[in-house]
Symmetry: D2
């Protein structure tokens, strides 16, 4: 008898995260149940695994005596699960965060190279008939080669970004208060304080997750530490940065910035951000690309197959008992 | 007595290519002569080296009996030098092409990542109040990770671009009829025909130099080989590509393209290229950035110092007797 | 009040795994208790963490109501712990396997290069006055550059070995029945069957852990798949390979081999392995070097500090509930 | 009519450097003449290229009015050619040194890893029944990971060795008085004085070519700068090092060394080097392996084909007019 997998990936549509052949693999190896809205409880009695991020309070987990794994396909762990019960019952709680890492890292590098060379700014100028040829438009252009690059936060995305930066021979410093220095040094990254990262970097990429401690980690004081003409790339949650202070400095030409995240999304129609020359605007697009979504489905089926063979999952990320209570991320949709 | 260096870098201003400390090194080791316009001939009698790209026909070279080296600081070898006489007299003819390679490679990668993710397109949409959040604007977004990348031409820029692509685990094919396959294989690049490069690549970067053979190397037939939705980056001389055919296909949405070079520069004010959504416009800005210009001065002084010590130059590129007659590049300014 | 850490690292001497400064950090942050032999039970009442690999049956765990973590400092998980109880109680069970990975990977590469070039064989000949100069002794020498390399097993050591092989542009295939193909492809490794790995590789490195399934994974049939003149490096547990079949083939000159592990250790004094020309002999020395031992102490203290701050451990490896029952490794000392 | 290539590769046998298919390519594209001993002069009248390193004094070059290229297939440029006449006549003088670089680099790394881990020493002990298991034999074992590595000389071999060292995250310093600092920095190598290289490196690899200036570059004073327990790898010409001073220090246990080159070859039968425990002995075997020899033939035919098409050679190394008079290497056979 095949183990039963309850498939409730919403808001992810099934076809966004599963290629047809991946879905076929899932159905081949498992009894797949897709309960209609409101019928999840009824489906839990046989559930061996849940794919999705439904509410799983204590009483619901009690309805699922055979449950071995909960596989989140959205990206963040939310406080809607009774994690302690999962851990006590040795139910694997897995997340798909790594699926987005490469996409975000490539987007971040693209934003950084854009700021380095004025790619989108000069494209706009060209369309307006104001393009400047050859060296004329390059007064502030800089190389990434051998540059000082600072990372604020070093998790999945930082690990995906590191080898890309290595190809430029960049000197990389990182600030991550959750990591021992040795983890950074193993990755040929120099551990540094936040102030040092900001003060010594031509390029800064902000990748930090939001916790109580990291709200407005980058305030006016911190932003003022950036060197004149620095390039700041924001791809983590917006709450890490004081956007008002950011806007003032970018508008004043203190440094250039690119942002993929915003304090309120959608950004108000009349936001001054929309017309800042020194700001590259990106609409929370860094991670959610087709290849990343489809990677989620591949990870889910790979790990379900391993679990069914009595092996440990290797592709998704385990929820850490110590951390699940700390995240403050809002669902992104 | 110090050897005499005649400094005629025009159109490069001296301060664009020499940092103050590099210029100081030059003056420390050499007698530097900067002839006013029309007075070059008079300066040649003592010249041990010429830094610049003046006309050097047979009779002028005869005026310079002590000449040991000509160091071009503009980027291309032009047909204004009697090269055979230089070679017969063992006068080193050196070019600064490599100084631009890293800058061009980084710009090319920046353009490729922009096309991969729609960075400038979505920035424009954002400014117009039409931004699309999360997956909405990502329908055509692709990763560079593990992508098929084709290079048309593999010289200095290709060599600088190769390690950047390696960081993405990209599969790189190249077409270069001037190179034995072994050179490409040594660089972990697969040698391929032009057709194969175009047909099998998601990303194509055109880096070819112009020769008689490469005029419109990319015509309608070749452009039609590109896969639907490919990303084409043009950073070499414009004559390699048929821009009319290019424009038709980009306008029709067959593929996306970025161009740093243009058939006529400046591009006419009413050119349809200026409003194409699928085209990223760059005004011949890939190479001429401050860091590249200053690299030229460093290379010049490094190699002059080596020559003065009786050693071989190692930083600039030697003119190849077999090739100097083949180039058709126009001065870029 | 500091959390209590019970330190029972035997057979590891404390000073082998802790640098003085690391030990100082441990004492700074924790109440460290080192029970004499037979007094462990008495120490468990206050224990917040145990550093070592003592017997921890159910009843002993019951004596440790505050226990949050067990940190193994020997290298393998043994069946002397009641793992289910640990998991149910959310006690972290951590292993130090990753501490040895770099040492083993470097040793494996050293053995492979020795076999590639006959380094130790020709050193012996030199000492015996039989050295052969220049090409004479190189008839069977091969490059690692662009070679086909096969890995049997892809865990911590494989991951440490992968970048070393990448520097040679080697084409790497791996067989690992515990891993989905995607994990290998992410590492730019080609997933392959065991037969394919053996048949197509010039170099084969055996890294597999012993389970019921992997006993004599490499028997006569498998060893006969190796190409004539292949180089086989054995650094995992000896039980994976049929050493009698191995010895016959090496003695017959079918291929060259290096072994760091042996069916019985010490190897019998009269073992024919001791005089085989085609066999490089290493006395289980791949992992246990000073730098690896000291890394264990660093990992232990780093992770203890994280746990004490309420964060997840990141340096040691978590025991997988699915796997702890499968390992059959014998303690190595 | 095909251009005439005079093939006189002695002492290299034709079949050592040409694969059958490479030789077929040569015959396909060229009229190949292989003059018997003493009949070279007669063959020169039609010669378009010479493959080999025969005596080419002025008068012999005069017999070869159509000569366009001389391709050395032995490895070093000797003083048996009238180089100035070649340069004046724009005759390409090409060397095959790069063919050996990868082989030497891999051998050097193999020697370094052997010294790091005592691979050959412990293999000898094992054969003598004195092997030490696990940590016992590892007291002096060190990692290459993150080690300080010094290179004395940075030419073809250094460039081949650099990426191998990068995979270990090694910090690489180099001393090369013929190179501007920028060349080293471009390769992510720190330029340093000889003293600093010796003083700060755990591993030192000597790659310097012999010139008048480099005779006994490493004398007693310099060797005494090495840290206690350093690992010294000698793969360049022996004249660079004072072997008497070297032997004293290795015998005294000051550091470990490996040598592939020797002041006199063959090494005298009664040389004390033959029994030194701390010395790894290699009989000038680093470069001359089958793959390197065959690479020479490939390079020769690739470059001849390019020259015949009117293109510049790209695989072999051009003789530098400034350097040909400086080399003092003795033919190695």
């Amino acid at each position: 008898m095949k183990p039963t997998v309850v498939l409730v990936p919403q808001p992810q549509p099934v076809e966004r995260i599963f290629r047809p052949e991946t879905l076929a693999r899932l159905h081949e190896a498992f009894e797949v149940v897709e309960p209609a809205e409101g019928e999840l409880d009824a489906a839990l009695g046989d559930a061996w695994a849940i794919v999705g991020q439904p509410e799983l309070p204590t009483e619901r987990l009690e309805r699922a005596p055979h449950l071995r794994a909960v596989l989140n396909v959205e990206g963040n762990f939310y406080p809607n699960v009774d994690y302690p019960t999962c851990f006590t019952r040795s139910i694997r709680v897995l997340g798909c965060g790594p699926a987005y890492a490469q996409a975000v890292a490539e987007h971040a590098l693209g934003l950084a190279l854009d700021l380095a060379r004025g790619i989108s700014r000069e494209d706009r100028a060209f369309r307006a008939g104001r393009e400047r040829y050859l060296g004329e438009g390059n007064a502030d252009a800089v190389l990434l080669r051998h540059a000082d690059v600072g990372l604020v936060g070093y998790g999945n995305i930082g690990r995906a970004l590191r080898p890309l930066l290595a190809a430029f021979g960049a000197r990389v410093r990182a600030y991550d208060p959750w990591l021992p220095d040795a983890v950074l040094r193993d990755a040929d990254v120099e551990p540094a304080s936040l102030d040092e990262v900001l003060r010594r970097s031509t390029f800064v990429v902000v990748l930090a997750t939001v916790t109580d401690d990291s709200q407005h980690l980058l305030g006016p004081r911190e932003l003022d530490l950036l060197p004149e003409g620095a390039r700041l790339v924001l791809v983590s949650r917006a709450a890490v940065t004081d956007y008002e202070a950011l806007g003032e400095r970018v508008a004043a030409g203190r440094f250039l910035a690119a942002s993929d995240v915003w304090p309120t999304e959608p950004v108000p129609a009349d936001s001054p951000f929309r017309s800042m020359e020194g700001l590259l605007l990106s609409a929370h697009r860094a991670g959610g690309i087709p290849a990343a979504f489809l990677e989620i489905g591949d990870m889910v089926v790979d790990d379900l197959e391993l679990l069914a063979r009595g092996l440990a999952p290797v592709r998704m990320q385990q929820a850490a008992p110590e951390l699940v209570g700390r995240y403050r991320n809002r669902p992104a949709g």
